[in-house]
Structures are given as C-alpha cells and as structure tokens.
Subunit: 114 residues, 2 copies
C-alpha cells in the first residue's frame, strides 16, 4: 500500500502533526517514531522538508534549543495562522467523515452521471 500512503495518507499525517503541534512542540524524530509506532515509515527526506515548509508558510514556528550545536533538535509549535488552518482542516475532516464514513448525503444537486 505504498502508493496509497504517498497519494493520500501522508496528508492525513500532516493534519496529525498540526494537531499535535497545538498542544506541545513536535520535532522530526518524534514524528518519525510516532508514525512507526502506528506501522508507517516516513523517511527523513520527506519529513524534514515538510516541517520546514509548514514553517515557511507560517503554520508552525521554530524554536531551536540554543546552546546546542548545528544538528540540534528543532521544535515546532503551532502559530496563530496555523491554528486557523487547523480549524479549517477540522471542518473538512468532519465533512469527510460524515459523508464517506457515515454515508450522509449533502444537498445533492448535480448528482449522477446522466
């Protein structure tokens, strides 16, 4: 199911990351361990750029434990902007859950193929 992870599940994990970053700082190795604990492998080459990107976008803010060297742990926590993003995501997750898992229909207008 490697394709599935890349195509879709990785995005789910991104939501998890933001969610966790809301309550406590997260860092690369922690995420990697966390996912492994759930049976998934994500490589550094995927994860670190991902965290950096979220920081660039202003969703996460970085705090390096100063007094440690160049390879020191980088801790990311949610910014105000990140919180807004997370709000939107929560709404979307709920919508997805209702429709795809519970099977609730939305309004339905343009329904069907014909």
């Amino acid at each position: 199911m490697k394709e599935l992870e890349r195509e879709i599940l990785l995005s789910f994990w991104k939501v998890h990351i933001l969610h966790h970053a809301e309550s406590h700082p997260v860092f690369g190795q922690w995420v990697i361990r966390e996912l492994r604990r759930h049976g998934y492998e994500v490589s550094p080459g995927t994860l670190y750029p991902l965290l950096a990107r979220m920081q660039e976008r202003g969703w996460l803010k970085l705090k390096v434990d100063a007094s440690a060297g160049l390879r020191a742990r980088k801790e990311y926590s949610l910014t105000k902007k990140g919180r807004k993003v997370l709000e939107v995501l929560r709404g979307q997750v709920e919508e997805l859950y209702r429709e795809v898992v519970l099977g609730e229909e939305e309004d339905k207008e343009t329904q069907g193929t014909a």
Copy 2:
C-alpha cells in the same frame, strides 16, 4: 488558502472521488463542477492525470461511451481493489476524526517532548 488545498485538501477530494465512484461512475468534468460547487477550483492539469493514475493503480476502471470520438467522456467506477483501498481510507478518516476533531487520545506512550 491555495497552499492548504495543494498540501492537504486535494487528498481529501481524492477520497471523495473514490467514495462517489463506488455508487455511480464519475468523470472529469463532473468532479470539477462538484468541487466548484463547494467553492474549490481544481484544474484539468491536476484532475485528469489523477484519475488516470487511479486507474493505472487499479482503483478505478474506465469505460468510455463507445461510438463517441476521441474526446468522449471517460467514466470511472470503483474496482474491487479500489473498494479495499476505500475501506482502509474509511478507517483512517475515522481515526483522524476521532483524534483531531473529537480530541480522543490514543494510547499515548511516546508522548511529549521531554
């Protein structure tokens, strides 16, 4: 919120697509209209390769309305393999919903930074 759509929401739509393809065939323009109806724009350059990819992976099967030309509508419906993928996704969506929206904690072991 363009970044958010590309980074995360597109994957949610992929799940929607599989879900819909379970109950009736879907095709490119329909998906585009459906998403627009919900306030999102996805361009052909993104969507068509995406559907083709899902077909290559065996999640969707294609049926073109024969007797129509080269640009005829391409209808995709869920395969058996696609149904399995969708099952996995439903589980993951539920998990995501429980944790991120409802705030339920999983086991928690490796919790925290310290």
